[in-house]
Amino acid sequence: MKLELRGITKRFGDFTANDRIDLVVEPGTVHALLGENGAGKSTLMNVLFGLYDADEGEVLLDDEPVVFDGPGDAMAAGIGMVHQHFMLVHPFTVAENVMLGHEDVRGPAKLLDVEAARAKVREISERFNFNVDPDAVIEDLPVGAQQRVEIIKALSRDASLLILDEPTAVLTPQETDELLGIVKDLRDAGTAVVLITHKLREVQAVADTITVIRRGKVVGTAEPTASQEELASLMVGRAVTMRVDKEPAKPGETMLEVDGLTVVDAAGIVQLDDVSFEVKAGEILAIAGVQGNGQTELTEALLGVVPTDAGNATLDGEVITGRTIKEVLHSGIGFVPEDRTEDGIVASMTIANNLILDVHDKAPYAKGGALQPKVIADEARKHVEQFDVRATGIDQTTGSLSGGNQQKVVLARELSRPLKLLIASNPTRGLDVGSIEFVHKRIVAERDSGAAVIIVSAELDEVVALADRIAVMYHGRIVGIVPPDTDRDTLGLMMAGAHDEEEAA
């Protein structure tokens, strides 16, 4: 199916998110849409999908103008979409989510044919090596698995135009490769694909055409042969370094010492099994592993979000396990959570307020139980500028920022107080290349100022680029700690559970 967008304009209040955008997607091609955070990519796709009404402009399918009253119309016309913010019903199972909207039913009461839905999920899941249990409930799944469910949902409908809005943000490298393979297969079968991603490697791998959007306008197109540096500078409007420049670490005293930490969950499953390691001041320990192998529990146990069943952790000689979250934070830990909308920001509060969420009762933001609005505003302006948060002002609600800018708010908050230890889960998820460059610089600077840093990342590139040492987790245990120059195959093997080089680095 051929898609054409003509002069699409979409405004939110006074803000123009899409400004007269023209776009043509030919059948049997992959069209990559690039742009920095908040450029208007998702908005454009939501207009196309019938979720938003365009203020101006028209959509043509196979050269016929169409008007979608809602996504139902778009789907009926053969458009499928993987949404950046998961459109999954949390208390439902995977199968229920996948069948929602086009359920197989039996009998006059239209009772659900759950077996058929399960079979469909299993079939797609097996075809693409997704390893998704059709009966798992969404809210129990890690975000990576949720992402796979979203993709299964879109694929289960045989669309002739498929929109993928950052489908790989939380996938493992292997899964990403599988998905890109699928995209190619679909393209070869004649499907038109729109791919939005911040990972230029993926663009180079599959895109046939590339359109770059900046601040709501189309600023140019690029050939798939263009280098990552070229694409990046087109997107961001300046030159971007794609590598992390950092001095070798100068590790100091041991800052964090974890000894035999064990976490058993309510169902009696051991999530963290006798984990011991240490991080020195001035070094970055990256934790690698396939998602769901205890990384989340490790960071949450250190913060005190989940109770520990055995073992302890000391920060700079002080025991931090068994303390309240507040005490842990105030002992000098910065925490960037894995799920930013759930745990990182309060969407309905302003940027300024989100920037003081965990320090709101500390000087200089508060004095004797009273907030200091002027200080808060001044600091907020400073942070917004420093971290390049794209917003109309510090009083904008955080929920109306684009996802990347929300992440910058979280980082700005956590990195702007003196830290002994920074724990960051997927700190650059969903960020554009320019922002990633910036965040990586900040993390390295944090290390160089003498803090210990723990990075949990699903992104092997990021792990290798940032880490001074890499700890690999598998089934709740640390299977090995290796130097950053360990080759990827070895890392891959360790992540798959092969024991190796115990305590090497």
Partner: protein, 408 residues
């Protein structure tokens, strides 16, 4: 969706000549929320008018011979509506028929008096809503507050000032205690606050009924379930002289409104409560204790509802019965939501409700309307005020640039 398209229609095109100043001023007036409130009252007057006409006997009688003398019907309709609306105004705002100045402004003071308990309770509920708690229990909290305050007021004899202070504190403590129960049950046991607070309303009612069956709570020489009078030393002084019912409680309510504003907007505690209300898991990750916030919120909300109980027992009625709460606790829910859980909004909404309530006697006695019609008209006014988009659509007013949603 209709609001969407109106927004765009209304937007001055880029490059179009700047809007002329008068038109802009006019547009701002038309878009303003006070215009919407005004039109909402007009709309409910119109619909309520239909009912008034239906309820009016003279109209029905004259309608029976409408075709032989239609003029009668129209004049009867005019009379009915005229007397209803003027009664309403005379009862709630200014009594233009009164001979003295005091008589003229009396309705206004009555409106403020009636608004007093609603301000207190509405503030408490508003704080709860913003902290993510749906407290239906203002009724019970109010009753317990009234009970504690009244008991201190009639059972002790203390110097003026101190006695009032203690009685007022007693009201707050009684309500706070009744708020603490659902707070702690939610924090420790996950018990849904809506259920617990609804149930505690009934428990409070029967508890007070039982207390009032005891000699300690009854007037000497009587078996009626009425408490003795609260001592003069514990009564709110009248602030505009004895001919008006308006008492110090009103000023205290305004002070609480300012306090609630400060708490929620300017204090670290309020910040925590708001964060917990808006996203508990993010708040927890930022080191806030959800359980503690829940308990604190319910205690504050209960305390304010308890203070609402001081308005009748220390201000207007001056003794305790088990019906002292009337429907205040439920009205306060609407007041809080209508005021968008913000103190200023709550004060204004409470005054609107106070006015509606104050107009009731006049509507019944002077306009001869049955009390049920009064209730219906009041409900319509609230409904229209709560629905600005509907009112705009009815009167073809443009939507403002930023449509604010009505949400807690």
């Amino acid at each position: 969706m209709s609001a969407d398209s109106q927004t765009t229609e209304d937007r001055p095109d880029e490059g179009a000549p700047p809007e002329d100043r008068w038109r802009r001023a006019l547009r701002e007036i038309v878009e303003s929320s006070s215009m919407v409130v005004f039109m909402a009252i007009v709309a409910s007057m119109i619909i309520g008018g239909v009912l008034i006409i239906f309820a009016d006997e003279a109209v029905r009688e004259s309608a029976a011979y409408f075709f032989s003398r239609p003029g009668d019907t129209f004049s009867a309709i005019g009379d009915a509506l005229g007397s209803a609306y003027s009664s309403m105004f005379n009862g709630a705002v200014l009594n233009l028929e009164a001979s003295s100045f005091a008589g003229v402004i009396k309705p206004l003071t009555q409106t403020l008096t009636m608004a007093t308990p609603l301000i207190f309770a509405g503030l408490g509920l508003g704080i709860g809503f913003r902290a993510g708690l749906f407290n239906i229990g203002a009724q019970g909290q109010l009753l317990m507050g009234a009970t504690f305050g009244a008991y201190i007021g009639f059972a002790f004899s203390l110097p003026a000032g101190l006695h009032l202070l203690l009685a007022v504190i007693g009201c707050a403590v009684g309500g706070a205690l009744w708020g603490f129960i659902p707070g702690i049950l939610k924090a420790k046991r996950g018990a849904h606050e809506v259920i617990v607070t609804i149930m505690l309303n009934y428990v409070a009612l029967y508890l007070v009924a039982w207390l009032l069956s005891l000699d300690a709570f009854q007037r000497e020489g009587s078996d009626n379930p009425i408490s003795p009078f609260v001592a003069e030393t514990a009564q709110y002084p009248k602030i505009l002289g004895v001919q008006f019912n308006l008492h110090l409680g009103f000023l205290l309510a305004l002070a609480c409104a300012w306090g609630a504003w400060w708490l929620m907007e300017r204090s670290t505690l309020g910040f925590r409560l708001r964060a917990v209300g808006a996203n508990p898991s993010a708040a927890r990750t930022a080191g806030m204790n959800i359980g503690t916030a829940t308990i604190i919120t319910m205690v504050i909300a209960g305390g304010l509802a308890g203070l609402a109980g001081s308005a009748p027992v220390l201000g207007t009625q001056k003794f305790l019965t088990d019906a002292v709460a009337g429907t205040l606790g439920f009205d306060a829910i609407t007041v809080a939501l209508l005021g968008r859980s913000r103190p200023l909004g709550i004060v204004l909404a409470a005054i609107l409700f106070g006015g509606l309530q104050a107009s009731g006697p006049s509507l019944q006695v002077n306009a001869g309307l049955p009390v049920d019609i009064v209730v219906v008209i009041q409900a319509l006014i609230v409904l229209f005020i709560a629905a600005p988009p509907l009112v705009r659509a009815m009167f073809r007013l443009p939507a403002p640039a930023h449509e604010k949603e009505v949400a807690a």
